[in-house]
Symmetry: none
Subunit: 227 residues, 3 copies
């Protein structure tokens, strides 16, 4: 009796409940606020997520925004020309990578202040390393949102830069973001590859997608699925 | 003596006999009827198959059809523009995906009525999730066929929409479908990835390709091979 | 002393010495004759090889030829349009596949007389199955060569159809073939995938590349490398 109970528990523990945020339509009021586990005073980070979008062509897409009252502390973008980038309060660092598309892509962005080393991992494969903002510190005290560019601290969102949207009646854009995890260190290449392959790795200590509190606004659907 | 018999059996059990349905020519009378293990009264499903076709260009291809007397309860299509889609008695949900082609592709379609979450997996990779037909129930009492669109319950099939076909003498279309399995739940991402990679997963409880009864009509060849 | 010798041998046995045949230039006299382990009286086969070529464009390339005195019993081609094909004394069966190119491609051709099922595997991925020459038997008593089309039993080779060549001074063609193994059965999908991935599988019982005797003629270089 006891044995079967143990077996049952061990079976359950292998089931990973995953939430995915679906932004089915463009609305300037749709976004999700994430509550971090610790203040975002960071001299290094690894920020990972899974993204899928049918948006294509020349269009900027914001994937992650962390803003304090006066600064965009860490914004992650898909640029007009398809490159991936992030910005630490000022000019950003851009990476040529395989393009985001309608099939789910696993992304990790890494940065280390001590060397300035910055890189992107797309489906576990590393981009070339760039030297960016050596010595800089990301400041705490702001808010993190997904789905919008918080230009003026949750002020007026610009519809053109929302994660999903409809520029005119002709196109309807859709997209999803999930598995948003963040560490205050640079994870190893093999850890990031393991994460892409669905293996369990150490949980994020800044954001842990399994436990992080999500506050949704507007037309955002939270879908639960097993990973 | 007994030992060797046991060893022999264990060796045999790792050999997976797989049937593949080959539709070598276009004929409006070629289709295969599948008998389900339970009534298709479904509020969720995972439907998987392996497909290869030399059909290309602007052409609709039906991959799976479940029809009750008055409704197309669940039809799966490759659309004119190459997108994959499914329809639950009414407008469908369409997904941008890598295109089907002459090399075998593994497909899984998932849908869950409680959230409306719908997705496609192509060779183990998930598309973006769409919200579709939340609260809907697929009704039982119909028939499932492969290779044709049963517009009027096994009535007159339209040659242009058959899985394989010949619009004129110029082109000869060919294709194959196999490994058609269906569950009344949404399988986890990792289970679907394992299935694509040829690992054994729990057998389908709506359709189990290894045991399901197939009734072939017209020019359909059933090929047995080891997986 | 004896122990270390054993260990040494076991270490050596994990190093797979692989021969590759390089055809560096076009010459109508370059080919390699392979001696089979048993007569090629076949009602089924799996024929695998690794091929790389910088040949491109509209050009036929013969990859394998088995000819008895009066018949091309089994010829394997890359057709003018890039399709892969094989011919059992008569019209052939053609497959749309990813194109051969300058990076090494792993190919397996399978055929089974009892069902007529024929398929190609490119880098472990199966094409669609075609029904071809059901009931036919490949006859023994011929010769197998690589690099040329033996139109008249080692007679006059046609320069245009040699595996590598130079039609004019404008183009220089290069290519290599290796790992040519053949079985008198249809191997399972997973065995072929393992072979592509470099795992050890059961040795070919018609041709075993590790032990088969090669008789080279003309400008053919045998390169040894570790696999």
């Amino acid at each position: 009796m006891k044995l079967s109970a143990v077996l049952f528990l061990s079976a359950v523990s292998t089931v990973l409940a995953g939430r995915t945020l679906v932004f089915p339509t463009q609305t300037s009021t749709s976004y999700v606020e994430m509550t971090p586990l610790k203040p975002l005073s960071l001299r290094a980070f690894t920020l990972c997520m899974r993204v899928a979008t049918e948006l294509s062509g020349e269009r900027e897409i914001i994937l992650f925004a962390y803003r304090t009252q006066h600064y965009d502390e860490l914004n992650v973008w898909r640029e007009l020309d398809g490159r991936l980038s992030f910005y630490l309060s000022g000019d950003g660092v851009l990476f040529k990578t395989p393009e985001l598309g309608p099939m789910e892509t696993h992304l990790c962005f890494t940065w280390d202040s001590s060397s300035g080393a910055a890189a992107v991992f797309v489906d576990g494969r590393k981009s070339l390393t760039k030297v960016y903002r050596k010595g800089h510190t990301i400041r705490s005290g702001g808010k993190v949102i997904l789905g919008q560019d918080p230009d003026a601290y949750f002020g007026d969102f610009e519809a053109k830069q929302s994660f999903v949207g409809e520029i005119s009646d002709v196109n309807i854009f859709v997209g999803e973001i999930g598995d948003v995890n963040m560490w205050d260190t640079v994870l190893s290449d093999s850890t990031i590859r393991d994460m892409f392959n669905g293996k369990k790795v150490e949980r994020g200590n800044v954001f842990d997608w399994e436990s992080t509190q999500l506050r949704t606004n507007g037309d955002v659907v939270v879908v639960n699925r097993e990973l």
